[in-house]
Amino acid sequence: MAEEGPKDDVVLEVRDLAKSYPVRSGVVLKRTVGQVQAVDGVSLTLRRGRTLGLVGESGSGKSTLARVLVGIEKPTRGTVLVDGEDVSTMSRAARRELRRSVQMVFQDPYTSLNPRMSVGDIVAEPFRIHPDAVPAGGRRQAVAELLELVGLDPDHVNRYPHQFSGGQRQRIGIARALAVKPRVLVCDEPVSALDVSVQGQVINLLADLQDELGLSYLFIAHDLAVVRHIADEVAVMYLGRVVEQGVDRDVYDASGHPYTRALLSAVPVPDPAAQADDEVLLLDGDPPSPADPPSGCRFHTRCWLARQLASGTGPEAADAVETDGGPRVPRRCATDDPVLVPLGRHDAHAAACHFVGAATAVSAARRPDPATVPDPATVPDPRGS
């Protein structure tokens, strides 16, 4: 990230991180026929007591990044620094010690808890891996405190996961992650499997825990509205790359990347009037395969801005090219890979688009000031019925 904070402020940093998986074919003799670049050169910084939101569609590499950060996967390239120390160069013992400080909360509270283990055993399981993390009062005491902390009844320690609702199971998952007193929680879509009214409870719990324990969160979600509520900074990923990052206000209200703008416009607004006003910048189809990413800007095959520019009257239109099967886009979009460039307002706000200026202008024009949103009663019915 462009911004240079005081070094001791940063708890987790990744530099130019990449993770690729081989694509094999053949029945008996497996040959490697290609590489899927799940994460391709990502740099992020997470500060103490802060929340970094990571958003993107399925296949953008956000879950792979999470798995690398907690040590489930080894990176192909790049470094992960915890408290400024490179995880890959330290001794096994030191690494294990450090791994304690980065724990994970999983997406699906139904499959991430072993149905044959009691809640007490589930929450105490991290102590088996990190025996030195057991507090002085002993495991039983620690488990009771953890359950209390996440708002569950400590008397339910002998119950099994199926006796709990989805929201309660996610609380169990959070208690388990907190058992070894981590400093960083990597939360991979922690609320997307929950009912709306329960989502809020879990998000509020995470916010309370952050205040109480000074935790830092990497909060992964495809729901930008949820991320806005909890994140201080946001990074938007597309096909393994970060395409935009910055403090939440910059990213949400002055998006510099057309992909961010499109993601935002896809969020359902619980207000029929607002939905009629806000034209949806629909993204066509699915993201391309990370095994064969598009040339130039990876987003150009689905980019509404590139299409707009190519069909406009500016110099970009004259120079537009036809991509195979795709839409006409400005030549640069199809040939040059854009890098993250800082966008004036705050140092930390950066976007990887050749036409950042045009994208930001559209964002500014589109985002209505909440104060000037017209009264629903005076707006004609958008459905015309």
Binding site: D195, V196, Q201, P272
Partner: protein, 364 residues
């Protein structure tokens, strides 16, 4: 039978000629006082308790509620697809006047396959992994419409085109695992549309999908609904999703309808405290009512407004108004008397003792 898209989304424009004409406003499906019980180890449990709704041609009804509120069970009852442990204990389901529940089960199912179709939440589970997408689409066309192999294949490609699966003629020979989540859901919609149904019931069609794909699928459903003047029932827990597509909303809680309103009225001023809580707990993009103006000041953001507790499971429904333990307006009467679903304003019903207060308070 035809599959061509016909224009005419405005009221008054004749609907495309199909098996029976669909004129906007015609009641296609009417559910009245439906009650469904499950047999469990702890005795019988009522999952749906006196639910009524009406689906009209050219209109979209959203059935909104959280896990266990009975919204999915009620649709399974409509379709005649209840599991063996469940049965309808009361009520009627009328399709164009005929009570489906009074028919023999086989006729009920046949009626539903043809005129009332359903799209399920989990498209991967609903598709058979060992058969191609084309086989699964043509199977029903051959069985139900008696089409030949070639004819059914041509029709299946048309259906995939209709739901905007790119390269439909090639992709028809692929297997479900070769499709993305959004594309699978499109295949399910195509399959449901195969017999050109009058009513389409979509049970959480976008819950497992990314926001971008969700927007695509919702738009597709709305387009198809408008083009064919179908009646569409959208079952969801997310009030955000239905704001742009539904005409009417029925909010369910603990097996009962607690509010019934036109979409605009509901969002402008909910007539039931549960609806209000649901609306408040949808995280919103534009508003940050937490005074979190400067991201660098280290100030903590405010908390999301939440409904305390969780929805009751069937069999453990509280006395009186089932929502009273979670309601911030609850008074003594709420714990003892069950409020009926009653009209509280023109075209609006609410099952709350204090609906007038709620509507008055929100307006003032």
């Amino acid at each position: 039978m035809e599959i061509e898209i016909q224009a005419g989304t405005e009221a008054g424009v004749p609907a495309p000629e199909t098996a029976q004409e669909r004129t906007v406003g015609t009641t296609l499906l009417e559910v009245s006082d439906l009650a469904v019980e499950f047999r469990t180890d702890d005795g019988t449990v009522r999952a749906v308790d006196g639910l009524s709704y009406r689906v009209e041609a050219g209109r979209t009804l959203a059935l909104v509620g959280e896990s266990g509120c009975g919204k999915s069970v009620s649709s399974l009852a409509v379709m005649g697809l209840l599991p063996a442990t469940a049965h309808v204990v009361a009520g009627q389901v009328r399709y164009r006047g005929d009570d489906l529940l009074a028919m023999p089960r086989t006729r009920h199912r046949a009626h539903c396959g043809r005129h009332v179709a359903m799209v399920f939440q989990d498209a991967l589970a609903a598709l058979n992994p060992v058969h191609t997408v084309g086989y699964q689409l043509t199977e029903s066309l051959r069985a139900r419409a008696g089409m030949s192999r070639r004819e059914s294949r041509r029709r299946a490609v048309e259906l995939l085109d209709l739901v905007k699966v790119p390269n439909a003629a090639q992709r028809i020979d692929e297997y479900p695992h070769q499709f993305s989540g959004g594309m699978r859901q499109r295949v399910m919609i195509a399959s449901a549309l195969a017999m050109d149904p009058d009513v389409l019931i979509a049970d959480e069609p976008t819950t497992a999908l990314d926001v971008t794909v969700q927007a695509q699928v919702m738009r597709l459903l709305a387009e198809i609904q408008a083009e064919r003047q179908m009646g569409l029932v959208l079952i969801t827990h997310d009030l955000g999703v239905v704001a742009g597509v539904a005409d009417d909303v029925t909010v369910m809680y603990a097996g009962r309808a607690v509010e019934r309103s036109a979409v605009r009225d509901l969002y402008a001023a909910p007539a039931h405290p549960y609806t209000r809580s649901l609306l408040r707990s949808v995280p919103r993009l534009g508003t940050r009512d937490d005074g979190h103006d400067d991201a660098h000041d280290g100030a903590r953001r405010g908390r999301l407004p939440v409904v305390p507790g969780r929805p009751p499971s069937p069999g453990h429904v509280p006395s009186g108004c089932p929502f009273h333990p979670r309601c911030d307006m609850a008074r003594d009467v709420c714990a003892t008397d069950r409020p009926p679903l009653a009209e509280v304003a023109a075209g609006r019903s609410s099952a709350c003792h204090f609906a007038d207060e709620l509507l008055g308070g929100d307006r003032g």
